[in-house]
Subunit: 146 residues, 2 copies
DNA sequence: ATTAATGTGTACCAAAAAGGTATAGATTCG
DNA sequence: CGAATCTATACCTTTTTGGTACACATTAAT
């Protein structure tokens, strides 16, 4: 029940980019976050492909946010790296959970999982990058309202 | 961001035990849940060691719930199998997150992770076994109130 | 045009975690 | 006693995670 290390780094990368005035090259981002350049680059590629981060190739190129911090949720960043949020395999659409079969008793949990999942997902959606930047107390307020 | 398959099975095992009139042997539980007996036994041992399930050895022995379904939360079952709920390594007490070091900027996320974690944990704590048994709508109500 | 600085794409690899199995032993009922 | 049942430890295989390597494409500056 944990986001991957890669997703954790991605959050920090996006945070660093949000605080930067100009575009930053991979090396600078890596240094700021404290991860190797190679691995940073791998994460950055996923962020670029998703449209969250923009890149400029060539000499004096680099990376910058493609969207405003208030539009970027933690859920989005985590899902770009880790894929859809699913607290149980049972929620995976490509997995034939016993709900569709004989043993109905076994999937009493399907609905429960779904509700909890939605609830967690909503929470992560509400925490945007700018709320993290501005102050942590606002995160507190936001979460208490869900 | 997923509970393990083992924790998923544990939930179903506890659910089956809650619905049983008498104690059940490992084989019967395994059949009811649809998991191999060996693996079921492995999970049952953890549940017994935690005090959630009681066991009787010897011929005509078996397993039963040691507590009332209304006292058993999903969080508890999941934590027995998967360990403490931590959405990021950063929250692990044995991990030296950069909050305790130089690069203060890097752990802006510590507080945020902590809040979200608490919030998820509270949700799983509120969903008790009996609320799952009685009807799924009650789960809906409970979750909407958190 | 050339070259150095930078991002891109694909493939690969090692360590850790998850998922599951095997075997030997201890306990209790009948 | 002996069959049924739980207990304990160790082991194994597959998948996921975390990370690296290398060849290539693009651009800015000269």
């Amino acid at each position: 029940m944990r986001i991957t290390q890669e997703a954790d780094y991605a959050l920090r990368i996006v945070y660093v980019l949000a605080g930067a005035e100009n575009i930053m090259d991979a090396k600078s981002i890596a240094d700021a976050v404290g991860v190797t350049e190679r691995f940073t680059v791998k994460i950055l590629r996923k962020l670029v492909q998703s449209g969250l981060v923009s890149s400029r190739k060539g000499a004096s190129g680099g990376y910058g946010l493609a969207e405003l911090p208030e539009k970027i949720s933690m859920r989005r960043i985590v899902e770009i790296i880790d894929g859809p949020l699913e607290i149980s395999r049972c929620l995976d659409s490509s997995y034939e959970c016993s709900r569709t079969g004989h043993n109905k008793k076994c999937c009493t949990f399907h609905l429960v999982f779904d509700k909890i999942n939605r609830s967690i997902s909503d929470k992560l959606e509400c925490v945007t990058l700018d709320s993290v930047i501005n102050d942590s107390i606002s995160v507190n307020e936001i979460l208490s309202k869900i």
